[in-house]
Amino acid sequence: MGDPNETYGEMWQDLGMNLRAHCALLDAIPKMYQSAYLSQENRPDGMSYFDFVVSEIHGLRIKELMDHKAAGGKVVGTFCLYVPEEIIRALGAIDVGLCAGAEWGYNEVEKILPRNTCALIKSFVGFKLDRVCPYVESADLVIGETTCDGKKKAYEIFGEMAPVYIMELPQMKRPEDFTLWRSEIDRLVARLEDLTGKKLTLENLKAATRDVNAKREALQRLNGARKASPVPISGKDALLASQVAFYDDVSRFTEMVNKIADELEARIAAGEGVAPANAPRVLVTGSPMAIPNWKLHDVIEKAGAVVVAEEMCTGSRYFDTLTDETPETLEGMLDAIAHKYLGINCACFTPNEGRMDDVVRMAEEYGAQGVIHYALQFCTPYQMEARGVEKASREAGLPVLRIDTDYSMEDIGQLQTRVEAFVEMLAD
């Protein structure tokens, strides 16, 4: 590949990005990707698509977004899987997950956010302050949500730098909460109709729902293959697919993931795997891992274990359930969307017993021998809920390792020792 600044420099400049800082960021990603991804052996051939996507993460995809905008389309940025992408898509807009997975611009961030803010929030504020995320720069609207307190307050600050719209996500799942959430969906529809100048109809919403469901089904197939032993795809590769699902073109992504799933199913039939059949199998659960956060998976898999499932937003919470496509009225479709999203088990809800059930059920389905609970430091909902996950897992006979970390590499030695010791424990 040539110099990306030669190919895309003008586009990034037009977006008002900080080219110097962006250069430094673009230099860092290939090294991380080489060490975490390209050094793996026996990867599925279909993963070459994701290698390409990552190499063009701020290039070709942004070009597509710019072309879409030039043709009168809108780009909507999101930070959370509770924002219903079916509605954005139905109105002809493209929704993209925004950059939040790397330590960036912290010196500036810590002038406006408390130091003890979780890495994900610091990251998205840092990317914006330093103008190095072309996704947020190209977004016509950023949709935030009231999941955790940190994000809620950070959006107020973010709103000074970008157009932000907030959805109120309830924190309980009673009928009254559903009513509130359902009304929030109506508010979102009105806001997006205003943004796009289009009307939401039963037809466009059904078509968009079908597309998004197909994307989730493709991810279900890919992830379902991880139940096999030996496992045909590494945890890192499967995680990457879940991460890319948030910003890639929906139809192309679906097609490519289905191709990989075909390949994985053939591998299973041939008894072929990426790790020995006796490699300890681990389920990872907790805070989201936004791209390029591959830190924990990399440590786990370099320690000789294999991650077989992610009970997280960049994992099963995203694709495990589909939106009902059968209602024959627009109201019915919006009810179905509200139900689908309120069914997701995020730690910002209380109580959140559904998540404990999900962890134990998934560990059994995917043949995991141990659970690693991953929480970002200062991510209070997940750090606190770790206790419940640990309790439920131990009762199901599953050993648990709790990891609280961030995006920095300063604790990598400690992390390796703890993860390796856990893997030794599972292997003994």
């Binding site: 400690q414 020792t417 010791a421």
Partner: protein
């Protein structure tokens, strides 16, 4: 020919040569500024059939001399259990971390906990505090063991605790009582960690800090079961690595 176990730690590099289950030679050297060079000199010192490395430098040993690796957690479990066959738990306080390990009936690791990324409550912490008090490590331990009560130290951060200690010294507080207070706060944190992993006696207390009499007394006082300290507390990790090398026949 013997097998070699190497424990490449932040403060010392320890080596044990094991033949027919017996230690035939053992060495403890300061890590200095280049622990890998020290490890290399140990590797070439005597012949060995197989080699296993543990400690924070284990991955370098794998890359440099093709050593197999085990974590300190597993190495300490193996080493402690071979010295005390009925050991049910291990406490290792080393140069830069503390590990509490609960063992099952077969001596396998049942649960473990390590301190976080900072040096609170480790050997390094004690070293810094002894300097602040104008004691050698040994003098500080003796002073702490001899003091009737301690002055409580509120911070466990190495840097903040050092300032706190300096402040107390300037105010004319008794150094022995400060030393006692420092030891007590480390002991209480350590005991809490042992309790979280469900550690029961007999507990093998190993690692460099197990040579500190005051710390051993305080752990003994606070722990529910029996506490044993091996004569060569610093060699338990290297011994465990050597036992692991003897177990897994490799190149």
């Amino acid at each position: 020919m013997p097998v070699l176990g190497l424990d490449i730690g932040s403060r010392t590099v320890d080596a044990v040569w094991l033949e027919d289950g017996q230690i035939v030679h053992a060495v403890v050297l300061d890590s200095g500024f280049d622990p890998q060079a020290i490890a290399a000199s140990l590797v070439s010192q005597r012949p060995h059939d197989a080699m296993v490395a543990t400690g924070y430098g284990r991955h370098h040993a794998r890359d440099a001399f093709g050593a197999q690796v085990v974590t300190e957690i597993k190495a300490y479990a193996l080493g402690a259990r071979s010295l005390f066959p009925d050991a049910a738990a291990v406490l290792d306080i080393g140069g830069q971390d503390t590990k509490s390990i609960a063992l099952d009936h077969f001596g396998r690791v049942a649960d473990f906990e390590m301190n976080d990324k900072c040096a609170a409550g480790t050997g390094k912490f004690l070293e810094v505090m002894s300097r602040a008090l104008g004691f050698t490590l040994k003098e500080m331990a003796e002073a702490a063991a001899g003091a009737s009560d301690g002055i409580s130290i509120s911070s466990m951060c190495t840097v903040f605790a050092e300032s706190e200690v300096c402040g107390l010294v300037h105010k004319g507080a008794d150094r022995s009582r400060i030393a006692r207070g420092l030891h007590s706060s480390i002991a209480s944190r350590t005991l809490a960690s042992l309790s979280r992993v469900g550690a029961e006696g007999p507990l093998v207390f190993a690692g460099g800090v197990a040579r500190n009499r005051a710390m051993v007394d305080l752990i003994r006082e606070g722990f529910s079961g029996e506490v044993v300290v091996p004569a060569e507390a610093q060699l338990v990790g290297a011994l465990g690595a050597a036992l692991s090398a003897a177990r897994s026949p490799d190149e």
